[in-house]
């Protein structure tokens, strides 16, 4: 008997001597995100995934497929549609939902859209407040969701760097940065009172580079707008002397006598067409986008008009209930 035991322990030693190769950073991030997705799906009564069609949402959706495989994704997707999303985005959204077999819910602030809300008639902050923040809060309340996944990353913006993976929101959907629950190890506190909810960010620890590398390695489909192509754009000179490229999707964006020009360009992040500028680029493959990213000298949200309305504007929006 002792002989057998020692033989077994020798086998064990041998097995541990040829340990599997250390997973790289993407595998580690993937494993962490899958753990988060499963925790939330198991501990909340009505979770939902906020699906915004961009590259981060695409990664999050793939991680959800992986987390529950071979079972289907056990929660619906919710898209907050401002009515100003690029047409290509909407087509892509519908195709992706069909492909992964997830239930897709779309919520719009119809009264505000009918009243002609747009970032030029109002300022960007009020427009975002109505079409995104208000629509999000209404949508979550309508369906009574108690947990909502979002694709935000901490490296995007300074106030996001302080947000928890489980970001607690009060009954009005608001974030209190000074009163966050401590988050230790991977032990997440999922307790909420009725009416309160949690926003969950499974990609918290991913960087923009990680996201693109993962899309490349995993061959995850993304919207064509990310790839450089000749596109008609309004070209405007900014005060700092650079060109701003504005997509021509919406009529009201055009100034009098302004004519679009064909420009080889792409989008670095996907938002509403009136507030998302394109960048001049030749990057038409994912490795080319990654190469461009390395040489980039401005952070990815820099081409979003909405984050710059005032210093700390992302923090203000989040306190109000924005993602």
């Amino acid at each position: 008997m002792p002989v057998v035991e020692s033989a077994i322990s020798n086998v064990h030693r041998a097995a541990s001597a040829i340990a599997p190769p250390r997973p790289n950073h993407l595998r580690l991030l993937e494993a962490e995100s899958i753990h988060i997705l499963r925790e939330v799906a198991s501990e909340f009564e009505r979770p939902v995934m906020l699906y915004s069609i961009g590259k981060d949402s695409s990664v999050m959706l793939r991680l959800a497929e992986k987390a529950f495989y071979p079972a289907p994704i056990p929660f619906p997707l919710l898209h907050i549609d401002t009515g100003f999303k690029f047409r290509e985005m909407i087509a892509f959204r519908d195709a992706m939902a069909r492909q992964v077999g997830a239930e897709l819910l779309v919520w719009r602030n119809e009264p505000a859209i009918a009243a002609g809300t747009n970032p030029i008639a109002l300022d960007t902050r009020r427009c975002c407040g109505l079409l995104k923040t208000q629509a999000l809060l209404d949508g979550l309340r309508h369906y009574n969701f108690d947990a909502a996944f979002g694709g935000a990353r901490r490296d995007e913006e300074k106030s996001r760097a302080k947000e928890r993976i489980y970001s607690f929101r009060d009954a009005a959907g608001q974030w209190d940065p000074k009163n966050q629950r401590p988050e230790l190890w991977n032990l997440y506190n999922a307790r909420v009172h009725p009416g309160e909810s949690i926003r969950v960010f499974p990609l918290s620890n991913w960087t923009e580079m990680d996201v693109w590398q993962y899309i490349h390695e995993e061959k995850i489909p993304v919207v064509d707008l990310y790839f450089a192509k000749e596109r008609p754009m309004y070209v405007r000179r900014t005060p700092s002397g650079e060109d701003a490229l504005l997509p021509i999707e919406q009529d009201f964006v055009a100034r009098t006598a302004e004519k679009p020009q064909m420009v080889k360009c792409r989008l670095r992040s996907l938002g509403c067409s009136p507030c998302t500028g394109a960048i001049r680029s030749d990057a038409d493959t994912i490795p080319a986008i990654i190469a461009e990213l390395i040489s980039f000298r401005s952070s990815e949200r820099a081409n979003r008009a909405i984050d710059h309305d005032q210093e700390g504007s992302m923090e203000i929006k989040k306190r109000e209930g924005y993602f």
């Binding site: 580690l28 993937e30 198991s42 913006e157 629950r181 307790r191 590398q213 490795p287 190469a291």
Partner: protein, 581 residues
């Protein structure tokens, strides 16, 4: 032709770059320091000198802050909240990301003043290494000692002591060596207290000037020719990565049972430690039932073996009862199944620890009611000793005994960071009130083994709670028969002992006191007395204790979910997990 070649070259470079990226691992480290140690400046410097800051971010802070004209105030790169910028301090834990040619880094940047212990413990809990800042002009102050203590308590193996502001003391070696000697003595005392020796590395730096942060300032051309060691970043690049968790025994907390159809039943989880192979014989804890691994399933195909920290799905060779919260583990190196554990506790709530109160203990994927029955002592972080205590206040650390209603499968924290860690939640406020590290646990021979006293005499409330997962109480429902049926069925489905009393029964109508007596007897014996008043109302009114909710008919799932929440608010249901109430 020339253009094509250039494109070819770029593609080749990109392939090489991507291949190199595929080899990178991840190191997590935490930082902390006192208010003026220059921690934010150090992190800002690390980010800036590794080209991890974009130009528009630098532009947005240029000319602001408190440094001399022409210099960048690096602290502004990291202080994210408005109040922080206004007050020039760091309030909350912030996470930063940067990468070098060798590896990727996640930094948990924790403030050194407000809520220091809570924030430092949070940052250290996931860290492989910690940078402790010491102000060269002041020496090892209490904040630095606290941080070193917490790093040791949370088993952060490598502690890098950055002696900062060397520029202010003329880059002089003598005071640096004095601080090193003093701090080594402190670390020895800490190791005596926590039982965990850290590997210490001392680096003289000037975060403001950039000396020894990324680039060496020793030997040849630097400001500190007497220093022959590596820069802070070189050290971070060379440290061994994540705790070699796959060397430890196999531990797999079950997060979710996946049952897409009758042909597949798998257990989803993240491997907490160790390695698993197809064919391994494993046991499920706390039940100790055994089975072999039939498949290791993933979206990307089945695996023959998998190691921590991968998230996978295990399929076993036979049907045994397993649910969320169970721990699948190696048989030959089994976890301890215990209903009483000793732990080091870091208290993180404004309300002090109350030994009379019931808390929820979350450990791996399992949440269970628990009582902190005794506080043994409290750590005096100033003197690095222990003192008598009967409770713990915010930011205090102490040794306690925790009693659970149901046994859990644990390891000692010093042997396994994943299965030895726990948090306590206040079921009233839902706040995370404490972080705990298991220091001792007495194993039980048999699952649910009761102690002598409890094995005889009347069945206690605690035993009923342990078996049924809820307390006794009254749930009054007024509404349509359909909605009442739905609630009753949902309680039955989760295994609650809910006994229905129809108030419309002739006997109860004639003798209301009979209904009252039956209700109270059921509630006192640990059951849920479900008093049903079926009528024409569209709205279902549910009442438990002092709490009442009115639920419009419609989505049946919603109504049921709200009643379950009500039971939780009323303290009848005691855990968040659906299956275990």
């Amino acid at each position: 032709m020339a253009v094509a070649t250039e494109l070819e070259n770029r593609r080749f470079e990109m392939d090489e770059f991507l291949a190199a990226e595929r080899e990178k691992d991840l190191l997590r480290f935490s930082t902390a320091g006192s208010v003026d140690d220059g921690k934010s400046t150090l992190i800002g410097r690390l980010l800036y000198d590794t080209q991890s800051v974009y130009e528009d971010q630098v532009r947005s802070i240029e000319g602001k802050g408190t440094t001399a004209p022409g210099q960048i105030d690096f602290a502004l790169l990291t202080d994210g909240l408005r109040a922080e910028r206004e007050q020039g301090i760091t309030i909350d834990v912030a996470y930063r990301y940067f990468s070098t040619a060798k590896r990727k880094f996640i930094v948990a940047d924790t403030p050194g003043h407000e809520q220091y212990t809570r924030n430092m413990a949070t940052g250290a809990s996931t860290a492989d290494a910690a940078i402790v800042l010491v102000d060269a002009t002041k020496g090892a102050q209490i904040q630095s000692r606290r941080h070193a203590y917490i790093a040791s308590l949370l088993r952060v193996r490598h502690v890098l002591i950055a002696v900062n502001k060397m520029d202010l003391i003329g880059y002089d070696e003598t005071p640096f060596r004095a601080i090193e000697a003093e701090f080594r003595a402190i670390l020895d005392r800490i190791a005596g207290e926590t039982g965990a020796a850290v590997e210490a590395h001392f680096v003289p730096v000037s975060a403001l000037k950039g000396d020894n942060v990324v680039h060496r300032a020793g030997k040849t051309s630097g400001s500190m020719p007497w220093y022959g060691g590596p820069s802070l970043l070189e050290l971070l690049e060379a440290l061994p990565g994540q705790d070699r968790a796959h060397d430890a025994s196999f531990r797999f907390p079950v997060q979710r049972v996946l049952r897409p159809d009758h042909t597949f039943r798998g257990f989803a989880g993240q491997i907490a430690s160790g390695t698993v192979h197809v064919g391994d014989r494993l046991a499920v804890f706390p039940s100790r039932r055994e089975a072999k691994v039939a498949r290791i399933a993933t979206f990307d195909g089945d695996l023959d073996e998998a190691a921590a920290p991968l998230s996978v799905v295990l399929v076993l060779d036979r049907e045994i009862d397993i649910s969320r919260g169970d721990l699948i583990a190696a048989i030959d190196a089994a976890p301890i199944v215990a209903r009483r554990v000793k732990a080091s506790l870091v208290w993180m709530d404004r309300r002090p620890l109350d030994t009379a109160r019931r808390y929820l203990l979350k450990h791996t994927s399992h949440t269970a009611p628990a009582v902190v029955s005794t506080v043994e002592d409290r750590v005096d972080l100033g003197a690095l000793g222990r003192e008598a205590a009967s409770t713990l206040h915010m930011n205090e650390i102490g040794a306690v005994t925790i009693d659970l209603l149901r046994p859990i499968a644990v390891d000692l924290y010093r042997e396994n960071r994943a299965t030895g860690a726990l948090i306590l939640i206040d079921p009233e406020t839902n706040a995370t009130v404490a972080a705990g590290m298991v220091t001792a646990a007495e194993g039980q021979a048999v699952d649910g083994d009761l102690d002598e006293a409890a094995a005889w005499g009347r069945v206690t409330d605690g035993e009923r709670e342990a078996r049924w997962g809820h307390r006794g109480g009254v749930l009054e429902l007024t509404g349509s028969a359909e909605s009442i049926d739905a609630v009753e069925r949902s309680l039955f489905a989760v295994g609650a002992v809910a006994i229905r009393l129809d108030a419309g029964e002739p006997a109860f109508r004639q003798h209301p006191q009979l209904l009252a007596a039956a209700t109270s007897a059921l509630a006192q014996s640990g059951s849920i007395a479900l008093v049903a008043r079926a009528g024409d109302e569209v709205t279902l009114t549910a009442r438990a204790g002092e709490v009442e909710v009115a639920l419009p008919a419609g989505d049946g799932m919603h109504v049921v979910a709200e009643v379950h929440r009500l039971l939780r608010r009323a303290g009848i249901f005691i855990s968040t997990e659906g299956a275990n109430l």
